[in-house]
Symmetry: C2
Subunit: 270 residues, 2 copies
């Protein structure tokens, strides 16, 4: 049976709320995800929250009941609570009906099967959590094999990144690694490393993509460092017709990913 907690001063409320902070996430090895849809999706991928707070008002919803039962069966804690507490946990005025605290996870490079997909996303020193989540969401849509985060990127378990991913954090394998580890791993098997650059004449529409394609996205402000650009098998450019020679990093990643997807699909048909 779920406990009922409605006191702001409850230590469990404080502990879960603290997960909005990176240091506490790291110490606890836990992160927050919100919403019935996303938590149900997480459950379908085999991930359950260790602690689940849900609104009393939603307690009779069949999917909520199923989630509560699954959490308790797995030894986790399900807690019925008020909208005010959910608001406090999520930091939002109109909170979702539930907030779960999940164990963080990380896939190792060696556990990736590079033959499992023709597209892989690689992001280097990504700074913005919204961009990271959006790239994961795009990765889900194009069927990417995974997202490989290189270097000092923003925390993929930040509440904002999880939110922007719309559940894709649970469906797209995620690797956090370094350039020094990634490059030798990549070179130990098939894999074309593709970077966007202003210093090339290769149009992204007609470039010779080869599967599996590893699409690199650089830091929002600085782009790719020269060393990483030099290691790419292919540099491509996109038309920039405006005053600014730049696109949002998640947008550029998506345009490239859909281009590579179409390229590989037509190669298969040919």
């Amino acid at each position: 049976m779920p406990r009922v907690i409605t006191a702001f001063s409850n230590p469990l409320v404080k502990r879960v709320q603290a997960l909005r902070d990176k240091r506490h996430r790291r110490e606890a090895g836990l992160f927050l995800a919100e919403g019935l849809r996303i938590l149900t999706e997480a459950r379908e991928t085999g991930r359950l929250p260790q602690i689940l707070f849900f609104a009393a008002a939603s307690a009779r919803h069949p999917l909520v009941l199923a989630l509560v039962a699954a959490v308790e069966d797995a030894g986790g804690e399900a807690i019925e609570t008020s909208e005010a507490i959910l608001s406090k946990l999520s930091g939002k005025d109109n909170p979702q009906a539930m907030v779960g605290a999940f164990a963080t996870f990380n896939t190792a490079l060696d556990d990736l099967d590079r033959g499992s997909s023709a597209i892989w996303l690689v992001a280097e020193r990504l700074r913005d959590p919204g961009n990271l989540g959006t790239i994961l969401r795009t990765g889900d849509a194009v069927g990417a094999g995974g997202l490989i985060l290189i270097g000092d990127s923003v925390d993929p378990f930040s509440t904002e990144a999880v939110r922007a991913s719309m559940g894709a954090l649970f469906t797209v394998p995620l690797v956090q690694t370094t350039w020094a580890e990634f490059l030798p791993w990549l070179r130990a098997g098939p894999g074309q490393l593709v970077g966007l650059s202003l210093r090339t004449e290769n149009n992204y529409r007609t470039a010779p993509y080869a599967a599996p394609t590893f699409l690199l996205t650089g830091n929002e402000a600085q782009g790719l460092p020269a060393e990483i650009e030099a290691a790419c098998d292919l540099l491509v450019k996109m038309p920039m017709l405006g005053k600014a020679d730049s696109l949002n990093a998640a947008v550029a990643t998506a345009v490239m990913a859909y281009e590579v997807l179409a390229h590989h699909a037509s190669a298969k048909d040919a």
Copy 2:
């Protein structure tokens, strides 16, 4: 000569800070834009802030001097201030070196020259300011004729939208209108209305785009209403290979816009 203001209690500081709030923006007819790069871009498009706060530390930079002189020549007010005040005005810990308060603007539908570009962006009840700004930025990159905002969309002059636009708010013509006004205007001349939909078999890669193409983006949560979908000349779908049948709205807009751009470019070559 610029005034120097370093007191948090100064009424002008309070007035400009209040522009982070929508109601105050509407009342004052002013909005905030930050950063030397964006303010210089604004100046190049003929827009100067009525009030300019700049950091004492940046006061000798030639572009800052030029901007201060231009603001004062135009009868505006340039104010040298501290980083602490700039932080307060922008709501950011590491503020840009300058914050300007600009008059809001709005282009009328009848002032658009639909022959001036082969791509136009149309967004309907867009909710997220980051998405709006990102769509403007994409509009700049693809050379869109403008962004037409339909219905009750987020305020394009919100600080977050202006930030995400990276200056494109100043370079991409912006119309705020209603569906009831937009549709008759569209039908009074050439223009293909294209919507993304899950209820069509038209693949977005092979669809018969015709210039000028008006690309519709729907509300983040609900997509396009049936009435608007029914008014489209062409519905297309993008592959969604993952668990979620959705993409971020700004991402979907960008993938479509680059597709239409490539389509029109190859039609021109043929």
